[in-house]
């Protein structure tokens, strides 16, 4: 029973409530950081780290935080982990840090960590919060990666910066541009809905 709930909390983030498709939150990095596969995966993992850590800490402190100032406290906790991620990527993955730029500090206002803190971690025990955070984070990473694979291969003709398309391939540059990101995400969302509706 215990184990099955744990599995459920983990897997719901991977398909049933996969952000940002089923759960339209955290769109800005989804659009901005998916021009290359490396950036997509990097962004996803940064967010996963912040989400897991903040979920665990908030769930540990949930009895201590007074209700009136809980949002402010959540923000401080999330911001702390965001700065840690910022410093660590800067120290060990500098090119990634340069590519993601302003979007690493902006994880703090990405609705996913705050939303999960409010909706889940503040009401559940540590172990479930951990599963929830990990599932949601990995789900987000998968979405970003999928979008990035599509945009990088067709928009640039490369995969992880290696040319993989045939030599005469003309990259579909629109996909690399901001409007291409919107259209691409919209189409993917539509296809997800189509698959999802077939399941019912």
């Amino acid at each position: 029973m215990e184990g099955s709930r744990l599995v459920k909390e983990f897997t719901k983030g991977l398909w049933k409530e996969i952000p940002p498709f089923r759960f339209v939150l955290g769109l800005c990095p989804t659009l901005a950081c998916t021009t290359a596969v490396r950036d997509g995966i990097g962004m996803g993992l940064c967010l996963t780290f912040v989400l897991v850590c903040s979920n665990v800490l908030i769930s540990l402190l949930r009895k201590v935080i007074p209700a009136q100032v809980r949002i402010a406290c959540f923000i401080v906790v999330v911001a702390t982990f965001v700065i840690i991620v910022e410093l660590v990527t800067q120290a060990y993955f500098y090119p990634l840090y340069m590519a993601l730029g302003i979007f690493i500090p902006l994880i703090v206002v990405n609705c996913i960590p705050l939303g999960r803190a409010e909706a889940f971690a503040s009401k559940n025990t540590v172990i479930y919060s951990l599963a929830d955070g990990l599932g949601m984070g990995l789900g987000y990473t998968c979405s970003l990666t999928a979008l990035a694979i599509f945009r990088e291969i067709f928009g640039k003709g490369t995969f992880l910066y290696h040319h993989i398309m045939w030599s005469g391939f003309e990259p579909f540059a629109f996909l690399q541009k901001p409007p291409g990101a919107f259209v691409c995400l919209g189409l993917m969302l539509g296809i997800m809905n189509l698959i999802g509706s077939g399941e019912k």
């Binding site: 769109l27 923000i75 700065i83 609705c111 901001p178 409007p179 919209g186 969302l189 539509g190």
Partner: protein, 199 residues
Amino acid sequence: MGHEVWTFSDYIMLVVSGVLVNNILLIRFLGNCPFLGVSKKMDTAVGMTFGVIFVLTCTGPITWFVEHYLLERFDIVYLETLAFILTIAVFVQLVEMVIKKVSPGLYRGLGIYLPLITTNCCILGTCFYNIRFKFGFMPTVVFSFASALGFGLALIIMAGIRERFHYARIPKCFQDTSIGLITAGLIGLSFFVFAGLAK
């Protein structure tokens, strides 16, 4: 953008750049969650626009002061994220309280959008940009205002289009958010016309 002296035409270019060329929503990708969330109806879109313009024009300069007179002074710029988000959250809550007391009518129109604005990344993002572009005080004020205006412009255009979706036959799987995103892409494409108008 390391100008020493800012002339009037520089400011005009900055506004053009903020509103049209580098539109914060469509080109810089900031503030997309509320963009899709509140663009279903025109009146909510207008309410949100005014909320963002007000909050951003105030928090831009405030965070500028925090950065230059507090964080830089004590050499703790790495705490920027924490200090900024705290400042914005507190400011928004303060404004909410003041409006509630002083003008209940305004509160009913604008108040419900204020809590949403705290987590609107276009606010925090623009504050970061002000610092990264090494703006002085006045450019900060102007750029913050222009960004908010750009946000509002895109939001209101979007709301106008989305109200028409009622009358369109959209395939079921594309309804709502999906078609919203594609529309946003097409609006973004039209904003490319302005590229080259200003830096």
